[in-house]
């Protein structure tokens, strides 16, 4: 469980859609230590404002000590990252949190909505590496429109997995939600659903899996100050009526361990 603070250089910037970016950092120590579902905390400013680091799932680990994040510009921190230049340096801290628990022989159904797709590429990669062959597995990716989903498809498809898509406006794949696709497919016994996306989507996925009595791992969000268990800021109600902490016990949880507003 080693974590590092690295001054990472931006090596590549991809604007995948209007507000969605993919940034590649040279961050060899973090790259070597990251497992699927873990995240990094990035300091976006050189001054004291914005003050806190921002959490981002690790999207991909590439060769040569490169890691990627995939994010949407929603505020000041992501705004700064969206305007980063190749060669700029940012302080990365990670890898943090508990990632996905993979299984060698169980079929995987990977469900991502919007920016929740971010951690799933690394998950898929590890899943397929572990299994050698992942043609039993399924990936379901959804978003608001074609622009949001399409740019990522090749990266997922290269692992030989079946990829189904949905969009809110019907511009790509199923017209509707990823959960409708999930609902429509036979959920084989012993398979695991891995999900990341908006709260409402994950809540729905958790419900579907509970009903079908299959395992479900979700990657959830929370505001965070430290990302490593020091501040107790990232509390989230668990199924015992108490709180769990997203940065330490998550961000990936067994869905049944959390409280859901369904």
């Amino acid at each position: 469980m080693s974590q590092y603070q690295e001054n990472a250089t931006v090596t590549r910037i991809e604007q995948l859609s209007e507000k969605n970016y993919r940034l590649t950092f040279e961050s060899p120590m973090i790259a070597a230590a990251t497992k699927p579902g873990q995240f990094v905390m990035i300091r976006t400013s050189i001054g004291k404002d914005p003050l806190l680091r921002r959490p981002f799932s690790v999207h991909q680990v590439l060769n040569n000590g490169l890691i990627q994040i995939y994010f949407k510009e929603v505020g000041r921190g992501t705004g700064i990252l969206g305007h980063a230049k190749v060669g700029e340096k940012f302080s990365l801290f990670g890898p943090l949190g508990r990632g996905f628990r993979l299984s060698k022989d169980k079929p995987a159904i990977i469900v991502g909505g919007g920016l929740g797709i971010a951690p799933l590429l690394l998950l898929l990669k590890e899943n397929c590496r572990l299994k050698k062959n992942c043609d039993q597995d399924l990936v379901i990716l959804g978003g608001r429109n074609r622009e949001e989903v399409e740019p990522l498809l090749t990266d997922f498809k290269k692992y030989g997995v079946t990829v189904r898509t949905s969009t809110d406006d019907g511009s790509l794949g199923h017209h509707g939600y990823v959960t409708e696709i999930l609902k429509s497919i036979p959920l084989v016994d012993g398979c695991t659903v891995y999900a990341c996306g908006p709260e409402a989507m994950m809540s729905r996925v958790a419900g579907i899996c509970a009903e079908a009595q299959i395992a479900c791992q979700v990657s959830v969000e929370s505001v965070m100050a430290c990302g490593m268990g020091a501040c107790l800021g990232c509390s989230r109600p668990d199924n015992t009526g108490s709180y769990t902490h997203v940065c330490l016990n998550g961000p990936v949880f067994d869905a049944e361990k959390l409280q859901w507003n369904m």
């Binding site: 004291k48 003050l51 501040c231 107790l232 509390s235 709180y243």
Partner: protein, 314 residues
């Protein structure tokens, strides 16, 4: 105060005394911002700290507030953790063993809803190996009962202090609230109550609103403001208290760098605590130790103690 010069290795003498507590250097970690220290063991050298102050401990476990518990503000943050902690007994059973193994004094931050609770926690901490001191939190703004009143009224502050002091064999540091009209008066009262030192400041009470939802940004509505934003208020209060009391002062509030720490020491602090900065740079406290050492060497000052209270007024 008597300092034996242990080794003449050319490095400046960083030791300071907080009453009977001797510290290798003046840099501590602030309660609630450093977990129980173990969280940081892979990120920095814990043994290089002057002291570790752990998250506030109450008599009974506390679950803390519902989320959201934190929100960023301009150059600062608000927190309403709600003093989540495992309670004094589990703290002793589960956390103190590791902490006692550290090579640095461990100071336990305590809080109660009544004087009796403060007393009881103090009693339970006596004789626990590794507990080098107690920091009495009379200032936490997050819990409805107790907290605020103890820190705001000098008489109440003195009573809590005296009660804890009467039951403690280890030095007692009292942590002051900045949300008062006259912090000097509270500090004096606490000194009269027998405190071995005072630490300040705790967080300023603040609030943030999310215009989109029209709701408070924190579930608890109000929270404690910390970080660089509050540093000017903290410095002023340390300076004010230094003019009033004769016991050592520990400066807290927005300290991120050695420069910040040295400013607090010039204003009259004998030691400092690094808080919110730990979240941004997990090595912050160690960096402050390094930075102070470097400053003393650059300025050719043999001892950190020659800085304390040396603000020059013209």
């Amino acid at each position: 105060m008597e300092y034996v010069k242990t080794a003449d290795n050319g490095r400046p003498d960083m030791r300071v005394n907080i009453g009977s507590l001797q510290l290798e250097n003046p840099v501590m970690t602030a309660s609630g911002t450093f977990g129980y220290a173990r969280e940081f063991e892979n990120l920095m050298n814990l043994h290089r700290l002057g002291a570790v102050i752990v998250k506030g401990i109450s008599l009974h476990p506390r679950q803390g507030n519902p989320p959201p518990r934190i929100v960023e503000t301009a150059c600062g943050m608000l927190n309403a953790i709600g003093l989540q902690n495992v309670g004094v007994d589990r703290f002793i059973a589960e956390k103190m063993n590791y902490l006692a193994g550290l090579n640095v004094p461990v100071i336990v931050n305590i809080l109660g809803d009544s004087i009796a609770e403060y007393e009881e926690i103090t009693v339970r901490l006596q004789g626990v190996p590794g507990v080098a001191g107690i920091e009495v939190n009379i200032s936490c703004p997050n819990v409805k009962k107790g907290g605020v009143a103890f820190g705001t009224d000098p008489k109440m502050a003195a009573s809590v202090t005296a009660a804890v002091k009467a039951r403690s064999k280890v030095p007692v540091m009292v942590k002051l609230s900045p949300n008062v009209s006259d912090i000097g008066a509270v500090a004096l009262a606490v000194q009269d109550g027998g405190a071995d030192s005072v630490s300040l400041i705790n967080t300023l009470i603040g609030m943030a609103i999310d215009l989109k939802t029209r709701k408070p940004a924190l579930a608890n509505v109000i929270g404690g403001l910390s970080g660089p934003a509050i540093k000017p208020v903290a410095l002023r209060m340390v300076y004010e208290v230094a003019k009033k009391v004769s016991i050592p002062i520990i400066g807290i509030g927005g300290i991120e760098t050695a420069e910040d720490a040295l400013e607090f020491m010039l204003a009259g602090a004998t030691a400092v605590q690094v808080g919110t900065a730990n979240f941004i740079n997990p090595r912050a406290s160690e960096d402050v130790v390094d930075g102070i050492t470097a400053y003393l060497m650059k300025e050719k000052l043999p001892s950190i103690r020659s800085i304390i209270g040396q603000l020059e007024l013209s």
